[in-house]
Symmetry: C2
Subunit: 229 residues, 2 copies
């Protein structure tokens, strides 16, 4: 019932009975940005929405379990998956262990096929535990946006700098200075400009960019967004 070697020496005082074993529950915060809103994938629950969830099988690594959970919620493959945190929450009369993941999906303008429902991340109504997990996911995403190239996973193949800035703004919830934003994002070296421009309305066409194939996903951009409106 337990695997051998290592953990016998300091095993807890009593033997583990079968139903003393803890329950592990995976929860996925699957985010995307569309029309200037940060959206989260949710499924209908008893009374409220709930995050996509599931119980991992033994014999399967956690990340794979998370990935297959996502494949049940959307037909698009996620672009990015990162473990968030493991918390224990009271559920009925037991404590269950919730392992939470952050996943990102790029939009190509429209929404990814929603087998799940997409709800605005700032207003969706979830259980207490799910709300905590969602909030933490947003904190992490905001932080990483500042010093990594994680935005890559939220953008389509090519985009204008204004579109990139709009995505940043929907995630951080602030408006940023156009000139400073461009300087930073260009200076970071994570982008390359494409030969084409996009004509889009009765105004000057916009240069298109994409993320460089070799962009370092851990590359530092610059760590602070403070100070703007």
């Amino acid at each position: 019932m337990k695997q051998a070697s290592e953990q016998l020496s300091t095993a807890p005082k009593e033997t583990v009975r079968e139903d003393d074993r803890v329950c592990v529950d995976l929860r996925i915060v699957l985010l995307t940005v569309a029309n200037g809103q940060l959206l989260v994938a949710v499924l209908p629950g008893a009374e409220r929405w709930q995050l996509p969830r599931g119980i991992p099988f033994a014999g399967v690594p956690l990340d794979s379990a998370a990935r297959s959970l996502i494949r049940e919620s959307t037909e698009l493959h996620e672009q990015y998956l990162e473990q968030l945190y493991t918390l224990s929450v009271r559920d009925a009369d037991r404590w269950i262990i919730v392992v939470s993941y952050l996943a990102l999906i790029a939009t190509d303008g429209g929404l990814p096929e929603p087998m799940a429902n997409w709800q605005p991340a700032d207003t969706v109504s979830l259980s207490e535990a799910d709300t905590k997990v969602l909030e933490y996911a947003i904190v992490r995403l905001r932080a990483k946006l500042g010093y990594t190239t994680i935005a890559y996973h939220l953008m389509p193949e090519s985009f204008t700098l204004s579109e990139l800035q709009a995505s940043y703004e929907s995630v951080v919830g602030l408006s940023l200075d156009k000139r400073n934003f461009r300087r930073r994002v260009i200076a970071s070296g994570m982008l390359e400009s494409l030969p084409e421009k996009r004509r889009d309305g009765s105004h000057r066409p916009a240069q298109l960019y994409r993320f460089r194939a070799d962009h370092d996903p851990a590359a530092f951009l610059t760590p602070s967004w403070a100070g703007d409106a």
Copy 2:
């Protein structure tokens, strides 16, 4: 066997059999600093040392389980406990889920009673999984040292600035500039000076400090230590 409500709606395709349930194993990285070395608490294992570990019981929150594990390794109460990461590792023919914690204990000069063994963190020989966990713990501790007052949990009640600097240096593994270090740590406002000084040898006595009772544990110090020797 499973608790009701929430997770039925997206339950995995097949029903969960009893022994499909995953095993969860807690591991604690318990660190301290003594005589200029970063030490980790370990227990004798089959061939190598191993991190204190144990299986959490259902019905007990994870953090409590971690705390009681620590109480089995040392008589001192830990000063600080923080969850690190949850990873799945292959063990025999199953994947087990390892939830890792970072704990800190202050030294008062000598070592805390070692029911566990204290080994230098940079040379101790552990299993592959334990090594990964230890390395990650050190990365986290180093990072947090830069922008939080986490050092508090490694220091005795009162100390000199040189002692504090020495602790920082043993953790980050770099030597720091004395003047810059002092300026930063003073400017951060996390310390207060005591009326006493410590006479210590044939040289000028050193001012004693302690952490302010109301120091904000999340207070920013300053995020980088680069550039020194």
